[in-house]
Symmetry: C3
Subunit: 391 residues, 3 copies
């Protein structure tokens, strides 16, 4: 993913195309998430999503990019005296950071306070994620002699973001009415079509997320090959999600996203059929992983960020090391051992870091809204507004 | 539309820009369609749309592209050993195939079973559409000495997709409550604003659909000229739709789409005023064509794919052969005879092929959901879910 | 913004990328606006938005572009005999015109008649806006010796569009139930999440609006620098909106848009921190400006176009002349005096022109719907339809 070379205008334009598409994934995340929970908390969730975007843009400018790619970059960035390469890479990578951090809301929806959520986004976007980014794309793993391949972030963005989100959800505890006598209750989303439209906005952005992970436009085969693997993986994810959930609309739409999450790591290496299989696996596992998290781990993962991001991210990272899924000339570039080690390191950073951050926030300023507010609905109780004033 | 030449990175990037926009039209189709029918079938429709996307991506990889542009392409595609040209052309053309096939749902909404619908999408996307594609863009018509010009698919995608969808709707028969004593009843859409937003997502994607039909970025005048004709046709379609429906929101928004459908065929040939007129005609005809289909043909065309795709596609194909609408240097490139012959051949393939496929499916595994399910609503009866759980 | 030089294919592709994104902002405007008012007028508003798009495309082809950049351009445009430069510049600039004009609906929503609204859009898009455009981007101010810098239109598009919209709202008078005994009443929007999604579609399009204001892709630093300033300004706008409204979802989402409006003028000049500050100011001022317009000016500004477009536009124009917000090498390019003079001229043209146009329409064919229609709801009373048929 990351070779700094002098970029001329066309490569910068290519990066801006990708950065704007990855930015738009934010709208996809919002629509996909708000559709999956109750109307009484929708406007509140929109505010969380707006604030985490601002938090990451600020934190990644002042410190995040420095941790990932060298502190010498910070002053040119802040003063606006950067060259085309630095400016273009910052623009693209800040959007990856924003995507990683915003996954967290899918786990903590309907019960986290705004201020700690915002502070958490500053820390994850400014420090924790950049540590992983440095390892994966900033040369960290390579300097440690670990051959870890993660072209577009199954590990760095999704395994990481999914696990941090699950830790935050774990520290928060489940929604009031999620468990009755220890048995999980279904809390249906209030608007399935908006969630499906959100999944499609995400998938649209994902073409920028994956194709844009090239370091420029010079290699046409790389661009086309990444695009085809992306296309076949989303098809596999749809089929997998539909099969394992008997055509449930959310699992089928989330299957498309799970397939896209999984293909990222080896999207430049998979054959089209390999990519389809990776997507299929990611789509199929969703209901089983969700059930495991809900019943065994007792984590109330409101928008299924466990199956869609953490598990699919893990599947993707591992599959990128499995030869029969790869193009002939790709096999030598990766090692299953490197993929497993990398996944373990990312998972440890996410789990330990996530617990420290959100437990720390909980112990200091409190993470959770009041029970009263949760019952009434956060829109009304905390923001004195309502998402649908005429209903 | 179709000259294979060695493509360098910038042309591949141009194709990826177009392919991602055409992919996003899928979200536009979903929003435009679900807004035009009842809430009780919305989630079910989302599943149909997800599945037909996967079906086309799979079928077009394994067989579709081979039928259109030569079977020698299939192995390099499947094994991932393609060059930039083949990979980039597959990526763009698979999205045209997906657009053609997904039109069908607009005709069969609210009453088709999932499995036969999926199988139908595999066959249309993998075999029937590629036959037309071969004729129009794969050299078929040219080899037959037919001068048929269809730059961005008024005929190949929209006339074809609209007619296949009408045939499927014909075989299915109308919705239970559509006709009372033979008189058609209005079944209002449940969400007009989502439908209008869908029309705008489609129009946004259409800039990729039309501008992206160039074989590369070398010819700046071609790109700008196609963009301007697209822009003026959508304006004409809006005015036409508003005039003939007295500002009905759906006909006005669908007018924008009808204008865009019609301009595709000669979008590289029309003057801006010519394009406006083509759009105007397509926008104006909608209510009359809809009434004819509803009352004379007794086909329950739920989302007006007849007027918006089939008839507008036909108008576009014919207008591309009418000199006074064309730029001076374009007139010699087309012949009205060639346009008419081409339209007839496409229509025959779509009608005969559509009847065979959907009647075949009907006679073997049954095409239609049960009457009980239709009354209760497909979301609840078949998927045990509901689109709006709090309403 | 505006140097005509021979454009090769890649620059035309760059302009088409920008033009399609700016076109898509239309969908953002619709979603942001309809979410902010009542369900009974939603479909009607969609028709207004479709019609003003067509009006601007038509008027800008036949006369608008001629006023802005020279009447010698009109014949080549109409006959389709333009070169790549003219075609590409028309395509980009028509979308700026469409954005400026569509701001007006945010002021006049829920009570303006369709025909006068359409005629107003023709006149503003074809004559009034092009006069401002000529001054700002067509060399008018420069010929008058006024050094006015407005890279992406804080003044030309947003200060102008916001003030014209406020004048139209002033002429129309407030909605029936807006003031009781002279005291303004809150009329809550019916769908906050759609409005937030609209704000994100706008922000996505804004990357084309700002980055696309370069005259080509040659200068990579310019593209990256504009993108970074855009990114930091939207972050500032979010923080400002959240702070001054205590996390109100609409003010926070509109804060993102206000920040983007304000950064346009000096987006090529601001440091990232300067851009953040500009965004912060624009976000913070919203509730105060809204209150001033509502209580002092007694204008019923339905969708807050005063704070989001007019005031943020003014803030942006002025800030572009404030050295400490600018990059070192940018300070010499601008003068605060020039910015102030330019802002005053634009404001005068918008206010006087807006009053003449809308008062003229009011006195001739009447601007306002009947009181009866307003009470019942424009969808039902005028279009015999309803946005949500099942509610």
């Amino acid at each position: 993913m990351f070779e700094v070379k002098h970029m001329d205008g066309i490569d910068v334009f290519f990066f801006m195309w990708a950065a704007s598409l990855i930015f738009f994934m934010k709208a996809g995340f919002i629509a996909l998430e708000i559709g999956q929970f109750r109307a009484k908390n929708v406007s509140y969730h929109c505010v969380l999503k707006l604030l985490d975007l601002a938090a990451v843009f600020i934190a990644y400018l002042f410190i995040g990019y420095g941790i990932s790619y060298g502190f010498e970059n910070i002053m040119p960035l802040i003063t606006g005296t950067f060259d085309a390469d630095l400016g273009a890479w910052w623009m693209k990578m800040v959007m990856f950071a924003a995507a990683a951090v915003t996954i967290i809301t899918g786990g903590v929806a309907e019960r986290i306070k705004i201020l700690p959520y915002f502070i958490g986004a500053l820390i994850v976007g400014g420090i924790l994620y950049p540590i992983v980014e440095h390892l994966v794309w900033g040369g960290g793993f390579a300097n440690l002699g670990i051959n870890f391949h993660d072209y577009a972030g199954s590990g760095a963005v999704h395994l990481f973001g999914g696990l941090v989100g699950l830790m935050a959800a774990y520290v928060l505890g489940p929604r009031i009415d999620k468990y009755i006598n220890g048995k999980p209750q279904a809390i249906p989303g209030h608007n399935i079509p908006i969630a499906v439209l959100g999944a499609f906005i995400l998938a649209f952005g994902w073409y920028g997320f994956n194709i844009g992970s090239a370091s420029g436009i010079a290699n046409g085969v790389e661009l086309a090959s990444v695009a085809m693997a992306t296309t076949m993986a989303l098809a596999g994810g749809i089929i997998g999600g539909a099969l394992s959930s008997r055509n449930d609309p959310l699992y089928t739409a989330n299957g498309m996203c799970a397939g896209l999450v999984a293909v990222c790591s080896g999207v430049d290496l998979f054959t089209p059929i390999g990519a389809f299989i990776v997507g299929l696996l990611a789509g199929i596992q969703q209901p089983f992983t969700y059930k495991f998290i809900e019943e065994k781990l007792k984590i109330d993962d409101v928008c299924a960020i466990g199956p869609v991001h953490a598990m699919s991210g893990l599947i993707g990272v591992i599959c990128a090391g499995i030869p029969f899924l790869l193009k002939a000339d790709a096999v030598s570039k990766v090692s299953i051992t490197g993929q497993i080690i990398g996944a373990i390191v990312i998972a440890l950073i996410a789990i330990v870091g996530g617990l420290i951050i959100y437990k720390g926030l909980d112990l200091t300023i409190g993470l959770r809204v009041s029970e009263e507010a949760e019952k009434v609905g956060l829109d009304t109780a905390i923001l004195q507004t309502t998402a649908y004033s005429e209903e």
